[in-house]
Subunit: 319 residues, 2 copies
């Protein structure tokens, strides 16, 4: 059997490439950047999307000629990869489930605790050498609504519960431990913390808009670790600026990197971070190992793990 | 029986006084500030130290004349209250055990997570409108040494363990679940997080000095929520500045409030907060209720709770 061709969509100038030494002799590895992808796509049996920020696959996929039979993305979200032609094709798509969930959950806990203890203000006062005592909030006993019942949302719920938070999780449909979308409005009105960890699909795009923020308590805080497009940015800015809600933290944005002229950078009460919630030291090694493990299954003709339901736009539970 | 006289050492301009309505008719309540304390002390049966930052008791206690039979301080630490004459006297001292432990533990968790996820730097970059992706550290799987085996240290250990941290607690003597002081050096060499939650006594004063910081890993971070005097400040500044350790956070200081000319304010990698780790919304009501509950025990001649071992300088375990 011919050695398969593995095409790696690199992140030039951003991330070192995956360590693929274990595949020596078992794959012909080609590298490409975004602009070069379309020309190389017909030659590839497997496409590894190593650059999680690239929209190149969605742009390059439609067209004539053979296409890879398997696409793996080194990310949780697959919205940047899926296009109608890929969804309709026989190509299998897998994601990096298992790498980012717990780091994201810790990051959300960091934001919740930092906001409860007024840490951003403490750092600001420190910079001005000002001693100004304040009272923090208890996190234990507070209420969170986690929107998104996938592995990330569930990991966030587990970590917040470990801190004594009462957590309700909502998903696209009700099931044990998960509230259906019809409960979302009620939960938003009660939550101290609203955590968005939903996948970006046509039914979730823009779900956090003025209507949603208007339901929240004035003491509530909103955290987005899903995708930027889940939130109507101007509505969030208005909600924070007008004190409809007490604060927010965004780790994801419509366009990344966020440009220096974005109005989001300096909204008082809004924390902006550069899409790093899931990224911890060693993750690139873990992502590389995960892909090689999957490649070995694929090459042996065995069932893959982390297979995306392309119509839904995420890996279903119990995959 | 005569109505007892309750003298309250207020915190003028800082905290509203305790709500003592439940004691109407059962205590003659007098208020004093620090300078007025010495003159009123002989008239009091009970002294409530409502200002946790005051050194007035230690200064006013020695001298002639009757002294209150019971002193309660609305704080965990009693170092600011105890003087040799009070220790030698028959006066009972109680503290606010039960109010601050879990808030302090959450505050420590907030600092640990914020440092692991590089949140101070994120906020600094946000202020400059700079998108600079970084990798955080996992908190789960890291190691903490908690120094201080009282209720605060134990609460810190519980909360960090809930986040997946491996925690070793050291105290003044070994007992189940607590390492003795002879283990401290070994534990300091291994810890990612060193949390100081010890009481200030003659054997703990200055325990975190250049020798202690020199044992820690270059990746370690130090957090002090005990008392400022447990740490040799200039040694800590040197350890952080010279990168013997990766960072630190101080919530307590030799002199509070920290003056605007302190060198601690602007050491890169050092977070300074205004002695607020245990202070959450509603605490003044809880402190007032706790005192009134104790007063009712005292007035009924029943055993008090939270009784300080004055020779040791803290409330022993299983009190």
């Amino acid at each position: 059997m011919a050695v398969p061709t593995l095409l790696v969509l690199d992140a030039p100038g951003q991330e070192p490439g995956p360590r693929l030494g274990r595949l020596t002799g078992r794959a012909t590895v080609l590298h490409t950047d975004g602009p070069g992808l379309a020309a190389r796509l017909p030659t590839a049996d497997v496409l590894l999307v190593w650059d999680p920020t690239s929209d190149a696959v969605r742009a390059a996929w439609p067209g004539a000629g053979p296409r890879p039979r398997w696409v793996h993305t080194a990310s949780t979200g697959v919205d940047r990869v899926l296009c109608p032609e890929l969804v309709a094709s026989g190509t299998v798509v897998t994601n990096a489930r298992g790498i980012f969930e717990e780091p994201v959950a810790e990051y959300v806990a960091a934001l919740v605790l930092a906001m409860a203890k007024d840490l951003p203000r403490t750092l600001e006062l420190q910079g001005r050498r000002q001693w100004r005592h304040r009272e923090g909030l208890r996190v234990a006993g507070s209420k969170a609504a986690v929107v998104g019942a996938g592995p990330v949302g569930r990991a966030v719920a587990t970590t917040l519960r470990a801190l004594g938070v009462t957590v309700a999780v909502t998903g696209s449909r009700a099931r044990p431990g998960v509230h259906g979308p019809e409960q979302l409005r009620r939960l938003l009105t009660r939550a101290d913390w609203v955590i968005c960890a939903a996948p970006l699909t046509e039914s979730t795009r823009g779900m956090f808009d003025a209507g949603a923020f208007g339901l929240m308590q004035p003491s509530a805080r909103f955290i987005n670790v899903g995708r930027g497009e889940l939130v109507v940015g101007s509505d969030l800015v208005a909600a924070v600026s007008k004190r409809w809600i007490a604060g927010a933290a965004l780790d994801v944005f419509d366009r990344e990197p966020l440009g220096p002229d974005s109005p989001l950078w300096d909204v008082p009460g809004l924390i902006v971070s550069p899409h790093m919630s899931g990224d911890t030291v060693g993750r690139l090694d873990r992502l590389g190992e995960q892909f090689v493990d999957l490649y070995e299954l694929w090459a042996a003709g065995r069932p893959l793990r982390n297979v995306v339901d392309k119509k839904r736009g995420y890996v279903p539970l119990h995959d």
